[in-house]
Structures are given as C-alpha cells and as structure tokens.
Amino acid sequence: MKFKPIIPFEPMSSDDVPQGKEWVSQIKWDGVRILTYFDGIEVRQFNRKLNERTKHFPELIDVNSYCKAKSVILDGEVIALDQKGNPSFHEVMRRDGIRRMDRVSHVMQAVPVYYMIFDVIFYNGEWINNYPLDKRLDILSDIITPNKYAQTVPVQQDSRSLFEVTKQHNLEGIVCKNLNSRYIIDGKTSDWQKVKNYKDLIGVVGGVTYRGDVVNSIYIGLYDDKGKFWYVGHVGTGKLSKADWKGLTKIIESLKVDSNPFINEPDKQKNIQWLKPLITVKVQYIEWPEGHTLRQPSIQAFVNQDPKECKLT
C-alpha cells in the first residue's frame, strides 16, 4: 500500500504553561517538520507542506535501523547543530533547502542532521491517530531504538522546569501535550500548545543597505489581507556568514527597483536599495510592540516560501 502524505497536527500558541496531571511537555526543536512513511516496502519523507524530502536526508531513510515496526508513519523534527552544538535552523536549511540532489552527499558530510521523533500515527498496518497520546507514546518508545541519527524526544511531566531549561539553553521553547488527546490530521487545537521563549516570523525582503559593495542589512515586510506590503523592521545581525551576505548581494542584483515597495516609509535611513519583494527570510525577535518595528530582530535563515503567504497576523 502506498501512503498519501498527511498534513500534521499543529500546536496552538500559548503564553502560559498549562497545568494538570494530564499535561506533559517536550522540547520544541527548531528544525523542519518531517513525517516518515514506511509502507513495509518503501520509505518516503514529506514535510508539513507535503513537499517530498525523501532524497534530502539519506541518513534517515533506513527506517529499520531505528524502528522495528513492519509499517509505520513517524512524526518528528529534523534538526542540525551549530559549531557550539546547539540546534540551528540556519544549519538545517543547508540540508532542507538544497536544490541540486547531486550535492546531497557533500553537504551531508558538512552538516549532519538528527531526527527528533515525537509521535507515531500509523503502526503495523493500522491507523493509530485516534489512540490517546499516552498510548501512542508507549508504542513509540517500544518500537524506536535510538541510533546516531534518530532519537525519540523525551517526555517531561514537569513542564515548568522544562520551560526553564529551554530558557537556560536558549532553545525555542516547549510543546505541551494533553495525554488523552488524539492526533488530529490537518488539525490545530489546544490539545497541543507551544510556549516559546522568543518569537519568529517569515518575512519578505523589500530593501537592503550596503557597506562597501556588500549588503549588510535587510528591510523586511509582511502583506496584509488586501495585499498591501508593510515594512516591519530591518536587521543586520544573525546567523548569516560573510559568504551568505555575499551570496545575497549577487542574488538581489536582478531584483532591484527604483521605488519603495512598502506602503509605509521605513525609519529614516538613507541609501536603501529597494527590491522586488521575492526573497523570504526567517527572523527571530524579542518583541513587536504595536505600532513599532521588531525589537532585537535576528536573521535565522533564508527560506523557500511564497512571499504572498508572509502575512501580518
């Protein structure tokens, strides 16, 4: 049997850690959500937008090296680490964003990835998404034997402590889950709640400034429902390397325009080179006070997304 890829269950955002015996929590790994489909014969991987990723992570394709199920659908996050050993979205994008499949083996050596598995939706010929989380986690811990590349995400009962720990280690946050909850395909309910240490958004680059002949900051905007493009902040710090900035400088050559693409005027700053809003970027920030620009934004990585989907929410 061939699986049709599903849209995974998504957590709602929450400011507080829910309390009660029925709640457990797990670290929210900052990577790319990848579901693994093994029908007993063939293994395929898809992301949450149903784009196939089977060829991107060869180290994860041998499912039977870490999972003893005869057939299975696993849900997890593929992550990569930076040089200090911390999860880095920027690093994992070097694997996920690859366009030329003949380069996979080279990049695989430079950027190892890890599969942090947190759920099982199908097991030995049966859909188990309607089993309570409690039971699914039992099955998961039973069938997974962690190896160098695949791990199960530990479950914690003391959600507040775990949240404290993610703060200490500067991780994205935690996902709190109700032990009695079902896995709702293409669903988003408060049975899963994400509590984050910092916020992020995917925005569109509408302008840049240069230092010398290399770009050193970007001006970011989001679309409203009427399709108007609003400036929300500019940022020059983050995860981009010198080579990344140089690469960006080249790419934007063909996107230059003479007039401001934003509906509003960015903070007074001369010498902005306006761009056709096409490049999308993930930006982390501390706060976004109403009527102001992003506070302490920092670039995570360039991402592949339809610019029109980058909306003010």
Partner: protein, 279 residues
Amino acid sequence: MHTVWKGSISFGLVNIPVKLFSAVEDKDIKFRQLHKECLTPIRYKKVAENCGDEEVKPDDIIKVYETPQGKYIQITDEEINKLKEEFELKQVSIIDFVKLAEIDPIYYDKTYYVGAESNGTKPYALLSEILKRTEKIGIAKVTIRSSERLAAIRPHNDMLIMETLHFPDEVRDSGSVPYASHIDKSAVSEKELQVGMMLVDQLTTKFEPEKYTDTYRTALENLIQEKIERNLFVDTPDKDVKKDTSNVYDLMAALQASIDKTKTETAPPKTRKPRKKTS
C-alpha cells in the same frame, strides 16, 4: 522540488490551477578560482572605461540598450517591471491541439513537470485523460520569467508535462550551414544504402536511457571525492573553522542534566516517563 511558476491552464471553460517544476537539473560540476599566490578567491570587478581602476558601485550603474550605430538608450528597472506586469499573464491558454509527431524536436527547449494544486486535481485529471485518449498535445502561449514562450502540454503517466518551444523565427535556417547545398543523395549507390541499412537493423534496440551516463562527469566526481577523502584540501588563509565533534547525544545529555538540576531545586523528583502512571 522548487516551484518555478504558478498560474493556471485554461482550455474551453475549464480552468486548472497549476505549478511548474523543472523536470531536469543541470549536473555540471562548477569550479571556483583562487589566486595561485595568496589562495584567495578571484572575483570580477566592475570598472568604467574612463575612470581608472576604481570599482563602480551598483547604485552608479544604469541599464542601456546599444543600437547597431553604437548609440545608447536608457531603460529603467521601473519601465521593465511595468512591462513585465503588463504582459506576465499567469494563465496558459491552450490554443490548438496537435499530434506529438507533428512537432519537430528542434523546437523543444525546456521541460517542466506540471503539478496540480489541491483544489484543482479533478480538472487536471480530466485534461490529462483527454490528451491521453485523443493522443493529442495542447499548444499554448505562456510567459515564464518575463519572456513569452510557445509551449506544448502533453500527458506523462498520470501527470502533465509542459515543454516550452522555440518560436519558428528563433530556429536558424539550416541552409546557411556550410556545404548544405552540396549534399547530394544521387551520389550514393543503392548497394551502399542496402549495406548501411542492414547495419542499422542489426544495431536497432529499445531506447533505454539508463544505459547512458555521463562518464566524464562521473570520473570527475570520483576524482574530487577521492581527494576529499584523502583530505587534500587547499590550505586557504581564512578557512572555515572545522566542525567540531559535537553531536546530539552531548546536547541531550546537557539538557537532561539541566532538567535534573532544575527539578531538585524546585520540586521532589518525579518519574521521567509519565506513561507508567495509572490513568
């Protein structure tokens, strides 16, 4: 796969939302250049003919068209963008249906897979099935990356494929190839023809593209891979810091240590795995 174009195909009253994906990828190995002396990358520098060696900044460059008389006409980005918006129809209208064999392969340019959007799988299947049963392909006009192209839409398994086609005026006249007018088939004897055709018969097989690979590229890849394995890296001055051996085990162990510490500070220890509890 990366979407190169998003729009819709229309024929008759049916409108099919689609995305295009490149069907082929370039596998050429790209080289970079380093200066032999200092081992840093070579780059291009834009200079103006009259202004010495000083590099011209992007802001100080304008785009012009050169006429055959050597005169220049300036075209601004705004003017180009305006035209692009005006003519970049996000719709492919099928204007004719023809037989595949009627198109000389000389017209084929690029091949794209046509992907259906979730709300358009039914009309997509309809068009694909119609083309299959009638053994026809659709001819359409489409604008990709701001240039207008002729395109052929044909079925492939259960999918649709779009081939962009060259316009007839882009195909050069074969008569201007040297000796084109000297090719004289009356100089060939019937015997030579029979022998040649017999040879063709003997060599005739089924087309199995898997049989043919780019042997030069494979050899070059092997050479590169072998040098990587032997650590024969060029000793460049500002090389990246080597990846250290940090792995996910270290990180998870560090996190677990923090969790244990936080717990002993705040609360009596609890079982780590909650699923053994009775519920």
